[in-house]
């Protein structure tokens, strides 16, 4: 597995793109003005890659996830272009589809695992019932579908019959989460979007789910978008990382580059703020200030109020993307200075090297 092979030279060119997001914005009209919770986002997701999306709470991660399925909740309005490239046939723009066509793309082509596995199940329906109704709703072959469900559950190290015959309350949190991953894969989607899939689980379960996800990804050759606030966690899984701040991506790169060579002041600060047993607590630095208000996102670079490198240019102009190396893009005017201005010690050094060999 070589992460660099999957990376693109530039955000706007593609090698084998499966999902192409262009100028995607999500807005909510509120009494005090328009709230923009996803701001002109561009991203290419490659076939069979694992993309990690990292950002703090309220940075627009979940909105990005919802946008990938055109599933932004009302009254949010999604604009832009989200193009899905099937293996065969014409590219599909998700935002142009009729509700019926959209229903077909969701779960069959692009599927999703939600934040709260605990509350993603109907409490009065058996796990089997959930699989069956999903197959039924998509007119899928029933016995083939249930066989696949059993295989998926077994791949996720569970006893298929026992799980299928259970009700949600009879499963532990980790089992519910794994069963939910199986449910999202039952129609053989090409893209799996996961929004904080390990948030409510203990550390050991988080690690084992990551391991399972990697196995499942290799076996079923699915592209994964893994959304989390936990950078060290996703570093063990993803090949490419996109860092989100203030409703847009500020830095996109391979996992190695992000960890060893982060260019954006925010990414560097985020790495500095990551708890780590090897680093003394005095060396850990929280990021000063607070995340921006979606109604009044700062002009220019949205990070400038919190950035030590900010100057007049940052206040007045949007930085746009600068290529650090091929496949490493950063939205910062001063990325060359950031290395000296914001030093950080490598967290989880051993883990990351091991994870990317």
């Amino acid at each position: 597995m070589n992460a660099v092979d999957h990376s693109t030279t530039d955000l706007n060119s593609s090698t084998d793109t499966i999902l192409e997001i262009r100028n995607a914005s999500v807005t909510f009209d509120m009494d005090r003005g328009q709230s923009r919770v996803l701001d002109n986002v561009n991203m290419d997701i490659e076939r069979e890659e694992i993309l990690g999306v990292v950002g703090e709470s309220g940075s627009g991660k979940s909105m990005f996830a919802s946008a990938l399925l055109d599933a932004v909740v009302d009254p949010g309005v999604l604009t832009g272009e989200i193009t899905y490239y099937p293996e065969r046939g014409q590219p599909i723009d998700l935002l142009d589809l009729s509700p019926k066509e959209l229903k077909k793309v969701r779960w069959e082509e692009i599927s999703m695992v939600f934040q709260g596995a605990m509350s993603s199940w109907n409490p009065t329906l058996s796990i089997k019932g959930h699989f069956e109704e999903t197959l039924d709703a998509h007119n899928a072959n029933f016995s083939e579908g249930m066989d696949r469900a059993r295989e998926l559950l077994a791949d996720l190290y569970m006893d298929p019959e026992r799980v299928l015959n259970s009700y949600p309350h009879e499963l532990s949190g980790g089992m519910k989460q794994r069963a939910l991953i199986a449910l999202s894969m039952v129609l053989e989607p090409q893209v799996l979007v996961m929004d904080e899939p390990t948030a409510a689980l203990d550390l050991l379960m988080q690690r084992s789910i990551l391991k399972l996800l990697r196995e499942v990804q290799e076996k079923y050759e699915v592209a994964m978008v893994f959304i989390t606030h936990d950078l060290p966690l996703v570093a063990e899984l993803a090949e490419r990382i996109a860092v989100m701040y203030a409703f847009e991506f500020v830095e996109v790169s391979t996992i190695d580059d992000i960890i060893r060579n982060a260019a954006h002041p925010y990414t560097r600060a985020l790495l500095n703020a990551t708890p780590n047993l090897d680093v003394h607590v005095d060396e850990m630095r929280p990021i000063e200030g607070s995340s921006p208000d979606p109604v009044h996102t700062p002009e220019g670079c949205s990070y400038h109020p919190r950035c030590p490198l900010a100057d007049d240019e940052c206040v007045s102009e949007d930085p746009g993307y600068h290529a650090v190396t091929a496949g490493h893009d950063v939205a910062c005017f001063h990325w060359e200075q950031s290395r000296e201005a914001i030093p950080y010690t490598l967290p989880f050094q051993d883990d990351s090297t091991e994870a990317n060999q």
């Binding site: 934040q115 509350s119 109907n122 999903t134 709703a137 089992m175």
Partner: protein, 337 residues
């Protein structure tokens, strides 16, 4: 198996409750100052001047299954054994066996209660679900207001209003009785029509006064369910709105109301005392009310026990069947991992 244990436990509980009510009923019968025993004795000695005290006591025993001169524990035993053999005593006013009067009246009360219960919940649940789907709409606000108003009005006020407007003033509906006595009873159209015609007002009174509360609780439950993540997941999985409404929202919102439906059976029987008196509808409640006025204690006691048994039975069935409709309450025989 744990389920069997639960069943046995619950059955014993139901019987204990029943025995407690018997005992309380009996104690009331026996200990009320100027109570039914004394009243019976006084009446009999008044109307039959030449009867001896012993003869009067025997007569009292015939009516109430209790001999006045026996000590309380013996008397309780006598009373219980005669109840268990189906002997509820003899009505003083009607001069018939209590069990005969009640057995004839019971089906009519069950008919009115069952139809009104069904109507109340059907209208309440449907309206509540529609209100929840259109939360905050004008329909929702309007319906909520109406529901709150009708819930605040007691059913007997609705009953009197209906009777006054549709019975006495316009004569559209009859003002009393349970069926036109000139029609032969049986499964013929005329008889069933007459039964429905006579039952329409009492049933409407209960439904009008009752559906509001059900609609409001259904609305609340549904709104809570609609906010759940699993609904969003269900929509993304492409399930039809119909399935989501029935299997996801409907079922999960109705479940908490199930027990209250069963308990409502008991309160309906209790409420029939006032309702059937207003509509002069000779059901269980009508006779209980009549016996109260006529100091017909054996009949009163019998009616009271019938209502108690119906209530206990309703809750008992609700308890035993809840596990069948809600997997989370299925007892502990299922394995959890």
């Amino acid at each position: 198996m744990a389920n069997t244990n639960y069943f046995i436990e619950r059955t014993i509980q139901a019987f204990l409750t029943l025995i407690c009510v018997f005992a309380l009923t009996f104690a009331l019968l026996r200990l009320m100052p100027g109570g039914p025993m004394a009243y019976l004795q006084a009446r009999l000695s008044q109307s039959n001047q030449d009867m001896s005290q012993e003869q009067i006591n025997n007569m009292v025993e015939l009516y109430s299954s209790v001999h006045p001169s026996k000590p309380i524990h013996i008397a309780f035993f006598d009373y219980t054994t005669s109840l268990l053999t189906g002997d509820f005593g003899r009505s003083i006013w009607y001069n018939q066996d209590v069990i005969d009067i009640l057995a004839k009246a019971m089906p009519w009360t069950i008919f009115v209660s069952a139809v009104s219960l069904f109507g109340t919940f059907t209208i309440g649940i449907t309206l509540g679900a529609v209100m929840a789907y259109g939360e905050g709409s004008r329909f929702d606000i309007g319906s909520s207001t109406v529901a709150i108003i009708v819930t605040s009005v007691p059913f007997y006020v609705v009953a009197v209003l209906l009777l006054w407007i549709l019975g006495y003033n316009t004569g559209i509906f009859p003002t009393g009785g349970r069926v036109n006595s000139s029609i032969d009873p049986g499964m013929n159209l005329a008889f069933i029509g007459s039964v429905l015609y006579h039952g329409a007002l009492p049933i409407s009174a209960l439904v009008i006064a009752g559906f509001g509360a059900r609609a409001l609780s259904m609305r609340g439950n549904s709104i809570q369910i609609l906010g759940n993540d699993y609904l969003r997941v269900a929509r993304l999985r492409g399930l039809s709105e119909r399935r989501i409404a029935l299997r996801y929202v409907g079922r999960n919102a109705i479940l908490p109301m199930y027990t209250s439906i069963m308990i409502a059976i008991g309160s309906l029987f209790g409420g029939s005392i006032i309702l059937e008196e207003i509509f002069l509808y000779p059901g269980l409640g009508y006779y209980v009310f009549q016996s109260l006025g006529a100091r017909d204690y054996p009949l009163l006691m019998g009616g009271f026990l019938f209502i108690t048994i119906a209530t206990i039975l309703g809750i008992y069935i609700a308890d035993l069947t809840y596990g069948l409709i809600d997997p989370r309450a299925g007892g502990d025989d299922r394995e959890a991992f």
